[in-house]
């Protein structure tokens, strides 16, 4: 762990250089989404849909926590694609780290921790904005939502790290974004209950970690926890983190010990 923390100054320096740009977008994005979709679209659909949404919540309450989970997924995936690939192939930051006492596992965990940190700051701002809109039920619920969002981020970051470290060229990211990320965003259950999807796609949606994240974020944010279902959702996310980390470790080991 000490070897992982030796990278703190590196990531802090990198973050200090970029945080201004990211802070504005992390604050403005949820604001726009919640205004546009939660309030705007919500006022249009609430009359008909209110009775049909689970728990009889408003559309703003429905979509707010769902957006948190999908946004953290997006951030985590972006942070785990080009930055990882670049550190391997373009800037060779990993190679320079591996010429020091740090080993592959330390380098992997250091970068994953940074992604977790990015997920944490992003979702903390997001939850604060949700609170402004009156969507957060309690402080405990808000804190829990941030923790769940970090878990969602890691459930995506870890396997995407593994994928990025296997790529020989960055052209492999286009299918990941278009065929992987976009449908997961749309069919995550953030915008409408996935029971409304055709059967086959509905089952695919259940397999995606993001749906479990959406359900869990909604439960803790709105204070409507169903322990049986929600422990299952949490367990599913943690399984993805563990399996994804194992894959990332294997992938990093193959790539970095034998050069690029």
């Amino acid at each position: 762990m000490e070897l992982v923390l030796r990278q703190f100054d590196y990531w802090a320096t990198t973050y200090r250089r970029t945080w201004r740009g990211s802070v504005v977008s992390t604050f403005v994005m949820p604001l726009f989404y919640l205004l546009g979709m939660g309030v705007g679209l919500g006022s249009f659909v609430d009359d008909q849909s209110r009775s049909e949404l689970p728990g009889g919540v408003t559309y703003l309450e429905f979509i707010g926590p769902g957006l948190l989970a999908t946004m953290v997924m997006m951030t985590a995936v972006f942070e785990s694609t080009y930055p990882v690939f670049s550190n391997i192939k373009w800037t060779k930051v990993y190679e320079s780290m591996l010429a020091t006492p740090l080993g592959v596992v330390h380098v992997l965990n250091g970068h994953l921790l940074y992604v977790a940190f990015r997920a944490a700051t992003m979702s903390a701002v997001f939850v604060a904005v949700l609170a402004l809109f009156g969507v957060v039920d309690s402080v405990v619920g808000g804190v829990a939502a941030v923790l769940v969002a970090i878990a969602v981020g890691m459930a995506y970051a870890a396997p995407v790290f593994a994928y990025s470290a296997k790529l020989k060229s960055d052209s492999g990211f286009a299918p990941l974004f278009r065929l992987g990320l976009l449908p997961m965003f749309l069919f995550s259950g953030a915008f409408f209950p996935i029971e409304n999807l055709p059967d086959g796609i509905e089952w695919l949606a259940y397999l995606m970690p993001v749906w479990h994240g959406v359900e869990l974020c909604r439960a803790v944010t709105l204070g409507m926890v169903d322990w049986n279902a929600d422990i299952g959702h949490g367990g599913y996310l943690i399984t993805w983190i563990i399996v994804g980390w194992g894959l990332a470790r294997w992938s990093f080991g193959n790539r970095l010990a034998e050069g690029t």
């Binding site: 000490e2 070897l3 030796r6 990278q7 703190f8 100054d9 590196y10 320096t13 990198t14 250089r17 800037t91 060779k92 930051v93 190679e95 320079s96 780290m97 591996l98 010429a99 020091t100 006492p101 740090l102 080993g103 010990a257 034998e258 050069g259």
Partner: protein, 327 residues
């Protein structure tokens, strides 16, 4: 233009103070295979403390693979390797803590400042922030980049980047400095500045291990070197030993008209230990180049130009690894 001044900087403290008994690096039957392909096919190497040791060879000779194994990054396929007396398979982290590595392609971080590249890197070795700052300033002065400290790496010239890489590899006061083609791609001024800095480190007692395919670099910097070809060591010794063993003292270069060289070669064969025919000239390997040139004229031959020079490592290198282009 940077001026090369003896008074600009003092050597950074602590470099080269090693406590290792026995060889700094020893390899026996060292092999590296990538799947079916064998990059290194069984080499024996020994580098002693304070020595400056070179791996020479054409592209694909296995130099970089060997360096990556010595750097305790790439696992050894077979054979025994000890660095600072330690086995890299078991003590990779401890070994790397005491190495400085200057890679073939700069791996500097373009997005942070010149000085941050050093301070951040020192933290990986467990140095405190204070130590990192102190050493960063020392090293920037040593490689003459103090006035660039706050600037971005992107704005540095190739030679400056290389010097920054060297500075970074010294942040942990390493016992051994590994340099993979330290001056490839640099202009002559930049090369000489790098050589001069490396020579100072050598004088300090730092063990230098470098790869190169520049023969003048090897002659400038290496006490001892091995020539590698196709994954094997084909010659070993000091630059002068190698020239003595594999070439003659002097070389007489004769230039005739295009297409005449083959015919002339037959007529001068007995004037030299060895005659080499190239498309544009004849090389006469002999201990007395002037005498050979005079004898050529006495036979009524009139070359367009005559050059008598001392044998260099380049002659040895080409003799041992051939003139065929390797891509």
């Amino acid at each position: 233009m940077q001026e090369i001044s003896e008074t600009v900087s003092d050597e950074p403290i602590g470099i080269g103070d090693s406590d290792v008994d026995g060889p700094m690096i020893s390899a026996t039957g060292l092999r590296k295979a990538y799947g079916e392909f064998e990059a290194v096919r069984g080499i024996d190497v020994r580098v002693d403390r304070g020595e400056s040791f070179g791996f020479l060879g054409p592209n694909g000779a296995g130099k970089s693979s060997t360096m990556r194994m010595i750097g305790a990054v790439s696992p050894v396929t077979d054979g025994e390797l000890r660095i600072l007396g330690l086995d890299p398979a078991a003590h990779g982290s401890q070994i790397r803590a005491r190495l400085g590595v200057c890679p073939q392609l700069d791996t500097l971080d373009m997005e942070i400042t010149v000085r941050e590249n050093l301070t951040v890197y020192g933290r990986y070795f467990g140095l405190s922030r204070g130590e990192c700052a102190e050493r960063a300033d020392e090293l920037l002065s040593f490689v003459q980049l103090t006035d660039k400290a706050k600037g971005s790496v992107e704005k540095l010239s190739g030679g400056m980047k290389r010097r920054l890489s060297i500075a970074r590899s010294l942040i942990n006061s390493p016992d051994i400095l590994l340099l993979d083609e330290p001056t490839t791609g640099l202009d002559p001024q930049a090369r000489h500045l790098v050589w001069e800095r490396l020579f100072r480190l050598k004088q300090r007692g730092v063990t230098l291990v470098l790869t190169t395919h520049y023969m003048d670099e090897a002659e400038q910097l290496c006490d001892r070197l091995v020539v590698m070809d196709k994954g094997l060591i084909v010659a070993e010794g000091s630059p002068t030993d190698l020239i003595r063993a594999h070439s003659t003292r002097e070389v007489t270069e004769l230039r005739f008209g295009v297409g005449e060289h083959e015919d002339v070669a037959d007529q001068v064969k007995d004037l030299a230990d060895r005659v080499e025919v190239l498309p544009d000239r004849l090389l006469l390997y002999t201990d007395d180049g002037e005498a050979a040139a005079v004898a050529v004229h006495e036979r009524g031959l009139e070359p367009i130009s005559v050059l008598v020079r001392r044998s260099t490592l380049e002659d040895v290198f080409l003799r041992l690894t051939g003139r065929t282009l390797i891509d």
